[in-house]
Every structure is written in structure tokens, then in C-alpha cells.
Symmetry: D2
Subunit: 290 residues, 4 copies
């Protein structure tokens, strides 16, 4: 039974390498999570167990794949960023996307019982889809991240007000929707404050800002140099000495992967953490912490 006469079918595989020297963002989304969150009676507007589970899965993904420089999550979605010099899987799109989606799913299912100890999973199981997008410049990448965090803010303010109206205001979903139609952020803040004595600013940062996952090093004084400009002008994968590459790898392995809820739209976040854009490990914080 010779295999050779069938092997021509391999020629139908189409290459899908992502353009070199561009930032790769893989965004994954929960499939049918509206239905899923009802099945497992997630709290509204936010379920802290569900968010913590998403974050735990994302942290595992970032830990297993050191090529990821930063990840940002909100609700049932997560974006994973690969540095523009990354050559993981020869930058094959399907391979990168499927690996992220599969690893994330594995941990989501595995950790479920930790965060939902009283409600075991049953089929149909939760799953995620994903896609990869390339961004040529640092500004494009930061605008992508800002887009997701701005979206988080807009949705969370809406949902917080919407569910306050229902849960505390006693009106139904249709009425709440009608009442919020056309309102600005200020209006929603006002409704929250005047009707329910809620100061939106005091809401938990994880709800307002979403979650950022990254390797942590010592913060640097902003303004000392322009990482973005340097990185944008970088033309290709920097050829490092073997020694340096080995050192970087160890630094990364030692670095703690953290989950924070910070503003990633303003410059400060990026200026203080130049390693996120430069891909050069910072000074070890881990050692100091011990």
C-alpha cells in the first residue's frame, strides 16, 4: 500500500505566513457566551469568577508561550500580542491562532472547577474562536490596544447602568434599554449616582479597565528614551549573540507573569515598561521581591 500516489494532496495546502516585521495580534472570543453565561448563571453585569478564570487561562498561555509580550482581556475576549520580530512557527497564521486558541481552551476547561467549584461543566462545552491581525507600527498596535480598552469602558459603563436599573431600579430590560438609548457617558454616571448612589469611579478596576497580562520587571523612569521610535525603525529580527539570546531567555523565564488592571491607553503604562515594545527583558524585579 504505497502512500506516494496520494501524497500529491499535500500540494493543496496554501502557505499563510504573516508579513514579517509587523506586530501580530491574536484575538479570541467566547463562542455563544450569552447562552453559556445564562446556563451557568453568571452574575450581571460582571461575574468575577468568570473573569478570574479568563485571566488564569490567559496567564497560562502567556507563561507557556514566551513569544507573547502582552495580552489584554475583557469580558469573554482576549488579545495576545507577539512582538514584530517574532518568528514563532515561521509566523504561520493557522498554527499561531490554533495554538493560542487550543492552549487557552485547555486551561479554561481545566481551571473551571477551581473558579466554579459548585457547578460542574457539561456539554456543550465552552469554546473560543480566534483570528490573527498584523499591525505595522507601534502606534497601530497601541491604537488596537486602546480600541479594546475604550470598548471595555463603554460597555462596562453601559452594562453597570443597565443592570442597576433592572436589579435595583426594578424595571425590565426593554425599559432599561429605552432609557439608556442616546445617553452619553455623563448621563449614565448621573443615573448611577442620583438613582443608586453608585460612584462609577469606585467600581473595581478589573471591570472598568479589563486585565493586562505581561512579564513584570522593574519600572523605568519615563522619558529617558523613545522606545517606540527605535522599534518602529527596526528592520528585521535583531541578530543576537547566542550568549545574549540565552540570557534573555533566562530573564524571561524568571520574570513573573502578572495580571493588572491598568490604563493602557495613556503613554505612562508603555513608557514605564519599555520591554513590552523593545522585547529586551528589563531588570529583574523578582529578585528584589524576595
Amino acid at each position: 500500500m504505497a502512500n506516494s500516489k496520494f501524497e500529491y494532496v499535500k500540494n493543496f495546502e496554501q502557505p499563510d505566513k504573516l508579513l514579517p516585521n509587523t506586530w501580530i495580534v491574536v484575538r479570541i472570543d467566547g463562542r455563544g457566551f450569552t447562552k453559556f453565561s445564562t446556563k451557568y448563571t453568571f452574575s450581571k453585569p460582571n461575574d468575577i469568577r468568570a473573569l478570574d478564570l479568563m485571566n488564569a487561562a490567559a496567564k497560562a498561555v502567556v507563561t507557556e508561550l514566551p513569544e507573547i509580550t502582552i495580552a489584554y482581556g475583557v469580558s469573554d475576549e482576549y488579545s495576545f500580542v507577539f512582538h514584530k520580530t517574532c518568528s514563532l512557527f515561521e509566523r504561520r497564521s493557522s498554527k499561531i491562532v490554533s495554538t493560542i486558541v487550543s492552549t487557552f481552551t485547555a486551561y479554561y476547561i481545566h481551571y473551571w472547577s477551581t473558579y466554579f467549584p459548585d457547578t460542574p461543566l457539561s456539554p456543550p462545552l465552552p469554546s473560543f474562536d480566534g483570528r490573527a491581525v498584523c499591525y505595522p507600527s507601534v502606534q497601530n498596535l497601541r491604537d488596537y490596544m486602546s480600541w479594546r480598552q475604550a470598548d471595555c469602558h463603554i460597555n462596562n459603563l453601559y452594562n453597570t447602568t443597565f443592570w442597576a436599573l433592572i436589579q435595583q431600579g426594578g424595571i425590565d430590560a426593554l425599559e432599561a434599554e429605552k432609557m439608556l438609548k442616546g445617553t452619553l457617558a455623563a448621563d449614565k454616571n448621573e443615573i448611577l449616582w442620583s438613582k443608586f448612589n453608585i460612584n462609577y469611579n469606585n467600581e473595581p478596576a478589573i471591570y472598568k479597565k479589563g486585565s493586562v497580562v505581561f512579564r513584570d520587571y522593574e519600572l523605568v523612569q519615563p522619558g529617558t528614551h523613545n522606545t517606540a521610535a527605535e522599534v518602529d525603525q527596526q528592520a528585521e529580527q535583531v541578530q543576537q549573540s547566542k550568549n545574549q539570546a540565552e540570557k534573555d531567555k533566562k530573564s524571561r523565564a524568571k520574570a513573573q507573569v502578572v495580571i493588572e488592571h491598568l490604563d493602557i491607553i495613556k503613554d505612562e503604562f508603555w513608557d514605564q515598561r519599555p520591554w513590552l515594545l523593545s522585547n529586551k527583558p528589563g531588570k529583574g524585579k523578582a529578585l528584589k521581591q524576595t
Copy 2:
């Protein structure tokens, strides 16, 4: 905080619709399963628990996604076939691949404890990658399936002999490799028989043939008509009446998804099950069985 100034980043998403009127095959592969199988001490050359787990996950995928007409698995890989008229997710490659990979992974993790009750999973967790390939003609599709099953046969005969030499023959891996270098199928059969009294033909079909997963209906008498030719000449998605589509959907939902270990290289398998190529549900077998 207006979102609009960031939304331009959506324009960087590149469309990835797969060519219409072609068969879509999504193949997934275990990532680093050599190491993984060592960690969980899988039996060699085949671990029935691991294969049963793969099959259970694949069956769940086929059950959840009725657009899949057939799936074929061997070792740590599985191929899922979508009919050429399928319009799931508008045929977007990333969406299709990531959904399959994620759903499969979810069930693999979820069912793990059923098949490996004594060895709980621990990080790093098993995961899978995947890719989609389009095949224009029925012959291309069948040659793809034949390629995988021929590969299964070749590898299994090799592995069976290799491990017999080690486990029963008491030689080490290097010697076994050397002994098998350049041997033909007949030689390996001979080694198995003469040295270990193993008749390869009597090995379990699941090892020799791999596993086929599909919706089961009543077999038809082969030769009554040429499904392949009809399907090849089909130009686009057949416009069905709403009634017919509804009926088909019900038939599919009622049909039992089965796991078999049959020869899918020869015509017989396909001739007896015209629904696999035609995408028209067959006669209900389920009812008869009750």
C-alpha cells in the same frame, strides 16, 4: 472616551474566506505529544485509552457541528471534512479552524478523567494546532482520506514491529531502528510472525485502520448511481425549499454519530454511504434499531 478614533485598526483584518464549491478539510495535530505521551506513560505502540479519548472528543465535535460530514483520526491527529457546499461562518478559515481546535480541545480536557481516571492532568496541558485545506474534486478528497489511512497503516506496522523488537525481543531502540531500516511491509510482517508469533492481520482494527466518525444511516446497495460524478458537477449550494432544509436538519439531528474502523480507501465504504458525499441525509437507521 470616544472609541471612533481607534476603530480604524479594524481595517487591518484581512479576509480569509475559503474558495467556494471546494471540500474543506481541517486537520488538527497534538502539540508535543511525544513528550506528553511519556509524561502520562502511554502504552506503546498504541494506547487504547488515548485513542478512545481522541475519538470521544472527535465524536463530540462532529455532533456539535452538523456541517461536518466525516472525520478521520489516527494517533494524535484528526481530520474533519466539511461538504463543499458548506457555508459555515461564511467559510472564514480562521473561524472554522479555531472553532474545531477549541471544541476538540475542550472535550479532550473534559473527558480526560473518564479515560485516565488515575492520572489527573497537570500543566503544561495537552493542546492541538490545526489548519484548513481545500479540495476541489471528490477524487482529491478521497485521495486525502486515503493518504491519511495509508499513513496510519505504514506507521502502525512499523511501530508494532519496532515495539515488539524492544518489548519482546529485548533489544534497544537504536538496534530496532537499524534492523527495520529499508524493510518492506512483507519483511515486517515476517519479523512479527517468525519472531513473536504475531499475525499482523489480527491486530485490532482501530490500530490498523484508524477511526472514522460520521452520521450513520441505512447502507445502500452500491452501484445504483454515481454520487461522486453528481457531486463534482454540482456548481454551488443547492437552493433547498425551507421545508426540505428543515427536514434534513431533523434527520441529521436524529442520526447517530458513530465511530468505526473501516477501510476508507476502497470504493465500498463510500458507495454504501452516499450521504457522505451528497450531503443528503440517508434513511434513518436509528428508528430501526430501537
Copy 3:
């Protein structure tokens, strides 16, 4: 001045091979031909010199590229069809499209003075753009060809009536447009006949049917066998003996490339010329003609 430090830029080239075992159609279109036809005072609704020039250029393209099995042209557009087994330029899309467009343009400019002896070309020169599309089945390909010819008919009937109203009816373009809005084919036929005594059926075939360019062999009796089904079921490039390939090449070189104005929507055209779908040269007509 070593070149090697710059050569990494080659890695940014993305492969663009068209899916194997599918028909490749390259359609080219005149750029800004409305303006161009005004500059050179083309006759309306059809300029026979301009059409003959298009056909001469297309015939040269088909003659130079024996991998083209058939071409169809109407107005300022031309579609070139490569057989599904074609491996020209490893099926690279850019290479195929640019070669067709460039060769066509070269002959269009070169032959201009033959068809427009009194009006020399001056910048800006006429040019064409193009794209490639893959069609998996014979039916898809034939439907594509039918689409273009049906379009030719619809446009020509409209334009014939529109210009008759203006040139013979003495009304202006706006009035003519208004009068034709919402009319059916029968209405336009009626206008032509009752107002201008024109029987549309007697219009020249080149205007009504467009132009088909192909290698001509002896017609065969239709119904003797089903070429479409055979070709659809073909899985890959047929491995020919060297002898056969050489013979085929000679047959093709000897065959006359003809320009006809036939109905390519009905089966007859294709049934009588099985070589167009099978890619096997027919019986030499050329010899008989001498």
C-alpha cells in the same frame, strides 16, 4: 558592497499560488475606456475597428500562451481560461495575471495603427487591468462564461436601442435613459422595430454574442461521451508519457487559433468541441483545409 545584508527583504514576498485542480480565469478590462473611446471617436454603440483590435490582441495572447484553452471578449474586456491542470508559472497569480495583461497590452498598442491607420496613439496610452479567479467545476466555469455572454447580450440590446434613440430618434442621452428605464428585452426589441425598423436578430453576431477565441479542431458528434463529468472527476495533472506530451504540443502548435461569435451558453458549443474541457487536442482540421 556586499548584497547579502539587504537580501532579507526577499522574505517579505508572499506566495500567491492558485489552488490546484481549479480552472483559472484571468479577466482584463480597459482602464478609463469611456474617456479613451471619446478621444478616438469610437462609433456608438459598437466600433468594429476597436473590437477587431481587441480580438487581434486576444488571438496573439492565445497563440503565445498555449496553456490558454479558450478566451471570451466583449467591449473592452477579455477573459482568458487556463485548464484546471495547468501548471504555468507554478500557478502564481501575479505572474499569470501580469503576463496576460502585458502581452495583451503590447499587441493592442502594436496593432493599433493597423486598425486605426488615420488616428495615431498619443499619451495617455490605453491600458488594462486584470485579476485571476479560480473555478472548481466545469459547471462553475461554464456559468462564468455564460455570465459574460449574457452580460454582452443585455448591454448590447440596451446600447443598440439607446443609440438608435439618440442617433436616429433625435432625442438626447438623458431622455433616452429615461425612456429605457425599467424596460424589458421585449420592450427594447419593440422600440427598435417599430421606431427604427431594426430587427435586433439581424444585428452582427460579433455585437450580439461577443467573440470566442480558441484552437480549432474537427467538430465531434455531441452526445458520444460526457467530457464535463470526466474532467470534473480528474484529480490532478495527468502524467503523460513524454511522447504523448510532445505529440500534444505539436498538435496545439499546428492548430489554428480562431475568432468566432457563437453561443457559448448552450451545451452544443462545448459538446462539439470536447478538447476545450478535456485539454486533449482534437483531430487536425488544419490539414483538411489545405
Copy 4:
């Protein structure tokens, strides 16, 4: 004859938009120019008529398509660069490539008799193929341009020596090839000087440097600002006021398109002409010249 039943074939067209915010380079190459140059007895190693014809065609392309910021040509190839903010034809690859190739071919054929007045063209006519490549950063783009110019230098030094050996040294091609095998640039310079009294540095710049085509404005003092960094950090198409866009368009139309033979590897060329990277028209030189 309704067209609607065929129109589904349009769905087989695959989008091919090039990634936004990246530099687009379209390189075209003469097809079979070795044979072609023999047919028309081009001088070796360089034929000034053939190069002038290439340059004239390229200049016409740049003039007709103001979206091109710079073009570089050597031998029978030409590279055309579109600014990274360019949105011509919605950045569709096929459309961009085919338009460039067709326009270039049209002028090549049209101007042939100007540069080769005594040798009229005859079929098979010269033609060109082309492809588009995206470059994310200014450095990538400049490295691409440097790659082509370094290639020009390497080839021209080789060819100059090779043909001197044959034409003046009286040896045959095989011997010349053998003699040059493994030689460095210095060796070739030495051969030229010692054997043929040729100082390579005195060879015409068009042979040594190739040809650069661009819109010319007043040179600026280098070092006043960092255009590359600014452009790299640009995130998307700058939204200009209508007034500004109109002004820019007029500036561009007025600007003279020039053909130069300068070093484009060193910074000076780019520093003195910031408009090439910034896409903002410089100060009008044309006015001063009158």
C-alpha cells in the same frame, strides 16, 4: 436571458487588499529578455537605447500615477514604490500590479520606434511580469532599494569585465566565465584596469547606479529633522483638509518627473529629498528653473 442565475460566480473572486500602512513595491521584469535582446542585437554589456527606453516608459508610468513616490530601474527590471498611506484602488494587489505592468508595456511598445528607429518590432512582442511586496518600515523599504542598487553594481561590474574579456580580450564566454569565477570586486577592477585600461569608476553612472525616477523639488539641508522616524510612527492615512489635499495635488502635477543616476544606498539621497518618504510635496523647483 436573465443574468442573475450566473452571477453567483462573482463570489469566487478572492479579495487581495495589501496590508494598510505598509510601503508597496511593484517590481516588473522583462519576460525572456535574453532572447529578446539577441533578436534586436542589443549592445553588450549595456545598450543605452534599451535603457533609455526603459526609463522613458518608467517616467510615463510615474507621471500618470502620482501615487508613485519613487521608481528604480536597472537592466530589464523596474521597481515602483507607493507611499505607505496610499489608498489607490483600495490597495488591491492585482489591480495595482496589472495597471503598472500594462501602462509600462504600453509606453515601451509606443516609444520603441523612438529609441530603435531602424529596427521595427515584430511578434513575439516584448512583455513584462510583475508582483507587489509590502514593506512595513522605512528601513525595510530603503533596504529593498539598496538591494536592487547593490545588485546593479555587482552585475554591472561582472558584465563589464566579462564582455571586455570577450570583446577586447578575444576569449570565449566559457573561458571568461571560468576566469571570473570566485573573483572579488577588487579583482575585476584590476582585470579591467590592467588588461583593458578601463577605470570602472569612469563608467557612465546609468550603468553603475541604475536609474531613479521621482518628482523633483528643491533639495533641503540634511539633518534638519528625522523624516524616517516621523513616517514610521505614522499610524494611518493623514486626514488632510480639502484645501491641503488640493494644494498637494497641484504641487505634484507641477513638479517635474526626473530620471537620475544617483546613489540611493547612502542617507544623503533621502535626507535631501524628504518628500520621498513624507509624501508632502517639497518646494517648487520648477518655478525657479523658468
